[in-house]
Symmetry: D2
Subunit: 334 residues, 4 copies
């Protein structure tokens, strides 16, 4: 950690600060410039309150040198993590397509969608059983019954399934689920993350609407610090000032996360844009940006969907898109 002191800091103030820092078991290296004094702090700086230090009267600014995330950092683990789920591989040189309806509604619906997305080339089936909704008066999902229907669709098609958890008390219901999703609103529900860290299930962790990439990595670190290393990160749009689409897809996060971490990174253009018309161009852009996969909503009858019909492709639209995404990946292959 580096601390830059203000001009005019007296020797007495400097001595006082250094003794306080040493009291926290830090080594302090002093570089005296013409205008500024710079302190290099060596030791367990993870325990230092950086904001407190920055708030002192004599401190101009503070900079952390080492990132506070370790297990998910590419520095400590240069090779890309590849997660295997059934026949699907996520990460490394693979490109994975996850598709399915926003919500599981009926057995007929989920099985029809599963069969069609499989035929079109999807690698995993997604479907919501527990639904986080902004309003308490909106449809909240079929819950345990929804998971049972997903498992039927898995049995029917062989596709591994992805579905969202909202409460660690429900973990038993997820015993046969292949990938457990943590939604954007729960990205910093730290108690939930810790419980998921005690399982060995692959976790699909969505970036929160207002969370930085570093915060996303710290949330992955919460899971990893409990032992579970199988994490898939997902960019799904952030909150910016324009309202023409539901959120602002921050696609640059893909190459940047690939630089910072060895974990796979996928994109969800359906939730990011909220509009069918915008999904195919942004799914193609995601493939071209180097994402390890794309998750798109597909519904056999979007006009009658109980949830998020606005952003669901029809199976035939999805089939065209899946083909185009594979072609784009070939186009950019090294």
């Amino acid at each position: 950690m580096i601390a830059v002191l203000k001009k005019g800091t007296t020797q007495a103030q400097l001595d006082h600060l250094i003794s306080w820092l040493r009291g926290q078991n830090l080594d302090v290296h002093i570089s005296q410039g013409e205008e500024y004094t710079i302190l290099g702090l060596i030791g367990s700086t993870g325990n230092v309150d950086m904001e407190l230090l920055a708030s002192l009267d004599i401190v101009e600014s503070v900079k952390r040198v080492a990132e506070p995330y370790k297990q998910c950092s590419r520095q400590f683990h240069p090779n890309s993590t590849v997660i295997t789920v059934g026949n699907a591989k996520i990460g490394g040189d693979h490109f994975c397509i996850i598709a399915g309806p926003c919500s599981v509604e009926t057995e007929a619906q989920i099985i029809e969608v599963a069969q069609k997305v499989k035929a079109a080339g999807a690698d995993l089936l997604r479907g919501g059983a527990f639904k986080p909704r902004t309003s308490p008066y909106d449809f909240q999902g079929l819950k345990d019954e929804g998971i049972a229907l997903l498992l039927k669709a898995k049995k029917e098609t062989g596709l591994p399934i992805v579905t969202e958890i909202m409460n660690a008390n429900h973990l038993d219901l997820f015993a046969d689920v292949d990938v457990i999703q943590v939604g954007a609103r729960n990205m910093q529900n730290f108690d939930l993350l810790k419980e998921l860290g005690k399982t060995n299930k692959p976790i699909l962790l969505k970036r929160g609407l207002a969370n930085t990439l570093k915060e996303l990595l710290m949330s992955a670190e919460y899971i990893m610090s409990e032992g579970n290393q199988n994490i898939i990160l997902c960019e799904r749009g952030i909150r910016a000032f324009d309202t023409y689409s539901r959120n602002t897809l921050d696609l640059t996060a893909v190459p940047m996360l690939h630089e910072l971490t060895h974990l796979p990174v996928i994109v969800d253009p359906s939730h990011a844009t909220g509009m069918v018309r915008l999904v195919p161009p942004m799914a193609l852009a995601s493939a071209a940006s180097g994402a390890d996969g794309v998750m798109v909503e597909v519904h056999n009858d979007p006009m009658r969907a109980l949830c998020d019909g606005a952003q669901s492709l029809k199976p035939e639209q999805f089939a065209v898109l899946a083909r185009q995404m594979r072609t784009v990946r070939e186009a950019i292959a090294p």
Copy 2:
């Protein structure tokens, strides 16, 4: 709900849409303008997927007329709610000061702070026992022991206490807590909100970093829809683009929330700004904006605080501030 159709919509498309809307038990009123056709939808529009409707090819835009929140709306409850906690009143014509350390650390610390903030005029004592931290490697709070220490400080001083819950499974530990806080990161942890709705404890609900006022009200509605009407809203800064302070305090939320809801609204300038030097001016501004209260962090030894020392006032700074806030309130009294 109002739907504006695009120019060039054919009669057949219009008929198809209307029959789909009527199939959802809606009455449809048609206004044919020279350029645009406008549909007024009457009935249980709460169940209509507004985004789906907006995404149809022939629909230009959709507008909800009635707000989806009901119980917290001032339209349905014109008088301001006043919440009584011990001797303190929050809401209406009262101005309430909540003060205390970020984290409970030791018995001596919490009792000293409690005594000093009480002497300076605080109405409630705050202190964190369960701490949501971005990093899994940071201090996570004293947990149940922290609550026990808060209860000792309450016994010693008579101040009612406010502390944060992170997990509904911990509710038993909060039996003697006066006000339960829901942190910004859990504002949309809907399962937690529902459990709190089943209690009759006052809930201090903090606005999420990227949440609109409407979303904050919908989260209050989650609690109220389960039966608990005792909610205090708290503005604590949002995430915008500038980084000079930790977050951007959105003080205009205070008069706007007072217009939209009957629930009390307080402000937390300590977490919003993250810097001691910025807390007093923003606390005074909060008082002047008409907030029903202010929550500020106070620590007997900020330089040694285990958490958020950067934003904690010393007791003597708090005493000056508390006096000034009361004077500002008198200055703006009608």
Copy 3:
């Protein structure tokens, strides 16, 4: 325009409002719902102060039905505009690559870069002569001399040139420039836009850092309202909360602008990301999103560049990228 009135509006208030609206030459259609009264306003609503109307005590909300931009709207001009500059075509089915250094520095530099980007497949040459810099103490460009050097490079290679204007008083210097760029900071410099509207030069109009797509279109409308229809829109990143890249590239703007307007839309991933490593993936994503072109910074010696070397590709990196972008375009061709 639609105005929704609040519950509890009296007949006298309603009559007063209607007479005020009719005084502004508007027809008023009244729809009386059970809970709400809705007014449809017909006529020259462009002159109505929508915010004033919305601020009235009895008005719940106001919605504009017709967009205030006309000449750039696809509704009034369904076919995509194609702009021809030398041998290059921008818009329609064409994909255009613009490349060159941030700043023109020397004759040798600009000619070498021009030759290399031409060989690699660029359609236009970019280079800054007048440079808007955040600090008055930074290099401000070679100005008229820079334009003279660009014209030499054009003569040498046949590539049409794009360069930025900062002051309408300089227009004479741009007589032989092929495309005049308006930078993000000047997107709402309305006096400059009007002057450019009086020329017949193609204008490359960059989106401001905090401007909505509608505001971008209104700025295009400023130029078009003076007679100049040759406008190329450019997405170059917006300001959001994360700071890992210089700005947040809002790629979803590409398909959305294509829906709203007939004008061509290109992307500048160099300024958006600010880092060489992020430019190729985002340029490829831009191509895949359906953009009509991409503008990238290329410098023969980025380490010695006077400006924005951090985001400049070397010519050999650009050659690989240009090839990949063309392949991606073939992959997504219908």
Copy 4:
């Protein structure tokens, strides 16, 4: 400037970098830590391309120690600047109220408003003659005629006047104007700033919607670097994600700017909120935050105003507010 190098940097790479830095006339101090190497760069670091340095493969991050603004920094000029305009003083211990209509419309209108705001305690009169409007089809102001009417109102009341400039070519028209305003959209119109720097008129510089405090200070520096030291900074709302008010008033900017600069800082709650009902609470909050003044819109007949009637107070509302603001200032006086 400090550069932190990545782990694994070889000696050869380090030598190469150091020689490149020394080639730019910098002294380089090397601190070798266990994990990281830190370079301290001494000399004219203002000329170093910080982003280029940060983009090098072996560089982890770069930090500027000295701020790039000098003349407006409080470090170099500890005493607060006080600007005198007629009988009014802006800065230091003074609290200044600027009031008037958004646009000058008629002689009767501007004189009536001027007389009323003077009677209510305003120190300066504001009024727009040149109006920047998002749409080219909106009222653009009375221009030179508007300035003539303002001068009549000044003669009638003795109030100094503030009005906005949009084009340096109009400077002659501003010869008798007391304070020239630069609007938010022109905050980075650097050519305009430089021209204003050559005058000795007080300049009221508004913060751009998406500009950081540092960028605001750099724009002040543009004016000061040409010789004009009379600058008043104005916070008028930034662009964040919520849309309930027109912009998000960032009031914390007031104490932060007071720390960074000696220039006076005022607030414009009318443009920030866009709604009459929100103006008084935010004007009072501005006064309580320590702002050196407040600028509010006042119109004798807001319902008929040609521009921004939605945010204009009536004179009698302003009179109450002016009184309350003065009382709040007394309440917080040391």
